[in-house]
Amino acid sequence: MKDGGELVKYLSLAISVLVGLTPIVVAFHQHSWNLQSLITPIYSPPRVDYSIEIKEAVISERERVVQLTFELSNLGDVGFSVRELRGKAVLAGEITTPIELTQAIDLPPATRGTMTIKLPLDESAVLKLVPFIMTKERITVEITSSLNVHVLSSMVTVPFRTSLTIESSKLHTTDRP
């Protein structure tokens, strides 16, 4: 050990090992030497939930469209926005129409908004539908679709199927008093 080389060598090695290992030993000691608890990820996912409720149904013979207005509530912890709706609706069990979302809806957590869906009708559909409204007390609407929802910056496609029964008296017409 001419110039203390060996001493420096082993001392620096010992300190390095001590410095590197001490936090790990402390970790094990603080968690009762339970490796499983130390390496298992801990994660509580936020709640992602919503509710949807029909508010209004309107038919416009002139524009040949049925407009359904829903109240959409964000019951979760993460905001989302509904961007698109793809699918079809069946009115009164026999009139099939495409469906479209009138506009995108942004819903921060614990908020509610209005989602309006348009069901465009061709002339033959209008001709079938009007007698139904006149003669039946209720009219059924079956929607089979998928919602394109943005959750943060992920695009989520959610199946959206709903079956509504609208009383004919509540199915307002915009063209007649």
């Binding site: 001490t22 994660y43 936020p46 910056s153 992920s154 989520v156």
Partner: protein, 189 residues
């Protein structure tokens, strides 16, 4: 006067090792990540992973993911690099002492290498759990489905992984510590 004498001021001070020790100190104390993975946009990411040997920050849907041992490993890495930096600092002033060769080490260079190897291994292991592979650098799409009633919920998240500027600074510092060690060994002959 040759280059070795210039770089050690006539065997009084190893300038490269000194610079390297100060840069190691900066790297060890920096809170900047070396590798970042962002799912979705940077303004409102669906998930974010920010990693360096000294920090670990992971969140999914704005909720943090914790792994209890990670802060201790980060602390061990930080203390090890701080010690390396301190030893290099002392060693750089002791060019004439033969024992100083034990103080001027190449440990600074091993950090980026071990980190990169760890990323490859971690990404490989993670892919077997999550069902898709995460590149070290590049864009990828996280695509998975969850059964929901009679249908499926499909989630698509365009994502991006990148090594940050701090990683490349650490690589440069590692190379400078290799050079400092080389100069030190030469000047001791």
């Amino acid at each position: 006067m040759n280059l070795l004498h210039i770089l050690t001021i006539n065997r009084r001070l190893n300038i490269v090792a000194l610079a390297s020790s100060l840069l190691l100190l900066y790297v060890a104390l920096s809170e900047d990540p070396w590798w970042v993975v962002t799912g979705g946009s940077e303004e409102s990411p669906t998930f974010v992973v920010k990693i360096s040997p000294f920090i670990f920050d992971m969140s999914i849907l704005e909720k943090e993911v914790l792994i209890l041992i990670i802060p201790y490993l980060n602390l061990a890495a930080k203390l090890t690099l701080l010690l390396t930096s301190l030893m290099m600092l002392v060693g750089s002033f002791m060019v004439k002492k033969r024992w100083s060769r034990y103080l001027v080490s190449t440990r600074g260079a091993t950090f980026p290498i071990v980190f990169l190897v760890g990323l490859f291994l971690g990404s490989f292991v993670a892919s077997s759990y999550i069902g898709f592979s995460i590149p070290i650098v590049g864009e990828f799409t996280v695509n998975f489905t969850i059964p929901y009633g009679e249908g499926l919920i499909t989630v698509i998240t365009p994502s991006k992984a990148s090594l940050t500027g701090m990683f490349w600074i650490a690589v440069a510092v590692g190379l400078s510590s290799l050079l400092g060690k080389l100069i030190h060994n030469r000047s001791l002959r």
